[in-house]
């Protein structure tokens, strides 16, 4: 997705136009536009929360289980923490930062969901391209192993990986990578099998290019579109998964608030304070639905002219 910095001044207008053209496909679909605005809402909130939240998200400054008031716009939770601040801060671990293990408290940019999807796209396309382009035994063995991975119910795999490696941002990324890779690999494989019959691949083979060069410089750029749309959908799945793990109590560790875990903690007080459980639940649902609508609209728009 990285937009390359433009080096040659002469090519600037055409590049920009290209980017704009590929962006404008979003606005042609109403579904994608709605989805994108839902996602943008949370992304903007995430950036705001980096610099400002109404209150300290982890401080028990208020009376517990209060409804909305002027002071706490969304109310407070069972420990007297401001829900709006926690909700805002909760976007960071998903979208903006990954906390590295250790006491130093260092974070790298890019949320857990983003890195998880990048991981599964990378691993999946390496495996899928090898299987699809090389064929034969490579294909047999890679697909057999991936079949075994797919056979695992996802949640069981998450549970086993996290029970085995312990909680942590990197472990969640690893779990998302492992569970996402087989799907990406299947897609990449079918794309590679289709593309490898084209003439330019034949030409590259005749030139005597390296296998890896053909896979990553010839095939991958031409398979980019479907893989990126798939990746977009996967960000939705990843947030879905992070929420579920948080709900099960094995997701992203504290101190940063995690939406799934907020739902899990608040549901114990569901009879006295329904709002505390509703806000994070709504937040997860809206973000995942937004991403799904966006990816879905995009895919529909891209395949419309291919028929």
């Amino acid at each position: 997705m990285a937009v390359k910095t433009i080096t040659q001044p002469t090519s600037r207008p055409s590049r920009l136009q290209k980017i704009w053209k590929s962006m404008s496909i979003i606005f042609e679909s109403r579904v994608a536009t709605v989805g994108m605005s839902m996602v943008l809402f949370w992304v903007i909130l995430a950036f705001i929360s980096l610099f400002w939240t109404p209150h300290d998200p982890n401080a028990s400054d208020f009376i517990q289980n209060q409804g909305p008031s002027i002071q706490n716009w969304l109310g407070t939770d069972h420990l007297g923490r401001d829900l709006l601040s926690r909700l805002m801060q909760g976007t960071q671990v998903i979208l903006l930062k990954t906390r590295l293990p250790g006491d130093a408290g260092i974070s790298i940019p890019g949320g857990v969901a983003i890195w998880g999807v990048i991981g599964s796209l990378t691993l999946g396309s390496v495996l899928g391209l090898n299987a699809g382009y090389r064929g034969g035994w490579w294909d047999q063995i890679i697909m057999q192993v991936l079949d075994a991975l797919i056979a695992f119910p996802r949640i069981v795999l998450y549970l086993v990986v996290i029970a085995a490696l312990g909680q942590g941002d990197l472990v969640v990324i690893l779990a998302i990578t492992i569970t996402g890779a087989p799907g990406v690999a299947r897609l990449a494989r079918s794309l590679a099998m289709d593309i490898k019959t084209r003439d330019y691949i034949r030409a590259a083979e005749t030139r005597g290019e390296n296998v890896w060069y053909i896979m990553f410089r010839e095939i991958l750029p031409n398979a980019r579109g479907p893989l990126l749309v798939d990746g977009m959908l996967r960000v939705g799945y990843a947030i879905f998964a992070i929420g579920t793990l948080g709900f099960l109590g094995i997701g992203l560790p504290p101190p940063d608030p995690d939406w799934g875990n907020m739902v899990n903690e608040a549901r114990r007080n569901i009879f006295s304070n329904q709002l505390a459980v509703m806000w994070p639940a709504l937040a997860i649902a809206s973000l995942v639905i937004g991403l799904n609508l966006f990816a879905d609209g995009l895919r529909e728009e891209m395949t419309r002219y291919q028929k």
Partner: protein
């Protein structure tokens, strides 16, 4: 066709084997020291080491994998020298291990340096005798004896050098002298229907698992019966009206439901029906084993949650397949030649359109299991998913492995059936 079936079955078996190895390895790598969980953090290293030996954890990993898969009684049999058999204990209803000494079920125990032979009577009780002349002598001149102890282990005692072991009793850890030097916890192995002892509950996994599987099947079955007709109906309805407002409404609603995590849906259903309307129980607490049949209200909310999540997905699949079929040339021909639309839809389109969703549902069982874990945790429903969750959190590897293998087996076998059904229904694949 026969070749295709055989190839699918072989591939399925290889997949299962790979899954079991990777599952075992994963748990092996990370599960840490399970004895800390069982004995508590205040146990001493000797106590942990002693208990780990009693669990057979001192054996190498490959050995334990084989034991887990196909059992170890055949290995222990060579050491003991008698055939090892299981017999149902009338008091607990669970199987105990015995050595079959010339038709007499026998165990041994070491008390105050004397080896006692316990012989099982027909009524289930035992008589003990002092056994003499049983000791054998090894190269170093020690007197040793391999036998079956009263805790279903094949053990090696050494005379005069009784090891001090820590036995876990209901009252806590107790130090015992005269302990065995080596343990082989007897098990038949997964393939022979014995996944071992649950470390969390202290009972055979097979016993605790069966009722959980039944509960889950009831839940999934009830959800399935509701989901299928509804999903197919809405999917077909949306498919025929492609692009119209009705299609938009159905598509977006089903996308919304699919994209909402199960626990969010579950929480909202609890809020609506359990907290505000107070018409349905918000948790599924089982007061007896057959509670679901006595009070079907208990599973109303779990079933509703599963329905909400799965309905959308299958409806979308059906819609996509229906749209594709409605676009095809033969449907256009039928419409152009003046056939009534209802006849076109019911006679020609639906049959072809349903093929894809039905096989996709077979592939979708994995997702269903994932949904089940979350739904069962939300409602505290004692099913397979909750069991996996609890066991994984505890690190009860015997239970996790067995339960996960059950889910994997269900997923793979339904997939095999899906593949076969698709090939049978679609001649184009069969002959290519």
């Amino acid at each position: 066709m026969a070749r295709f079936i055989i190839r699918s079955i072989i591939s399925t078996i290889i997949t299962m084997l790979l899954v079991s190895i990777s599952l075992f390895l994963l748990i092996e790598v990370g599960s840490g020291d399970i004895t800390v969980k069982i004995l508590g953090v205040f146990s001493t290293p000797e106590q942990r080491a002693s208990y780990a030996a009693q669990l057979g954890l001192d054996a190498p990993a490959w050995q334990r994998y084989i034991d887990w898969l196909i059992g170890n009684d055949w290995r222990a049999k060579n050491k003991v020298g008698y055939p090892l058999v299981t017999s149902i204990n009338p008091q607990t209803g669970e199987a105990d291990w015995w050595a079959d000494v010339d038709g007499q079920l026998t165990r041994w125990t070491l008390e105050e340096g004397r080896l006692l032979t316990l012989k099982r009577q027909d009524d289930g009780s035992t008589t003990s005798h002092i056994s003499s002349g049983a000791w054998q002598i090894d190269e170093e001149g020690r007197e040793y004896f391999w036998g079956v102890d009263v805790k279903n282990n094949a053990v090696m005692w050494v005379r005069g050098a009784g090891a001090e072991v820590w036995a876990l009793t209901k009252a806590g850890l107790r130090k015992e002298g005269d302990g065995p030097m080596k343990y082989i916890p007897l098990r038949k192995g997964l393939l022979r229907g014995d996944p071992g002892i649950s470390l969390q509950y202290g009972r055979p996994v097979a016993v605790t698992l069966v009722s959980r599987i039944r509960n889950t099947l009831v839940l999934a079955g009830a959800a399935f019966v509701i989901i299928m007709p509804l999903a197919l109906f809405f999917g077909i309805l949306a498919g025929i009206n492609e692009g119209k407002p009705l299609d938009r409404i159905i598509s977006i609603t089903s996308l919304g439901f699919t994209a909402t995590p199960e626990f969010v849906t579950g929480i909202f259903l609890i809020l609506i029906f359990g907290v505000w309307l107070k018409v349905l129980p918000a948790v599924a607490i089982f007061t007896s084993a057959d509670a679901i049949f006595e009070d079907p209200k208990l599973i109303a909310l779990p079933v509703l949650t599963l329905t909400a999540v799965e309905l959308g997905y299958i409806a979308r699949m059906t819609r996509a397949s229906m749209v594709e079929v409605m676009d095809s040339a033969y449907i256009r021909t039928a419409i152009i030649k003046g056939m009534p639309i209802s006849r076109v839809v019911f006679k020609h389109a639906i049959r072809n359109a349903l093929m894809a969703p039905i096989t996709i549902i077979m592939l979708h069982v994995n997702w269903l299991v994932g949904g089940l874990v979350v739904v069962e945790v939300i409602f505290g429903y004692p099913g397979l998913g909750y069991y996996i969750y609890k066991s994984a959190i505890f690190g009860d590897f015997n239970a996790v492995e067995a339960a996960a293998m059950v889910t994997v087996a269900i997923a793979i076998i339904t997939r095999l059936f899906g593949d076969l059904a698709y090939t049978l229904l679609n001649p184009r694949i069969r002959y290519s």
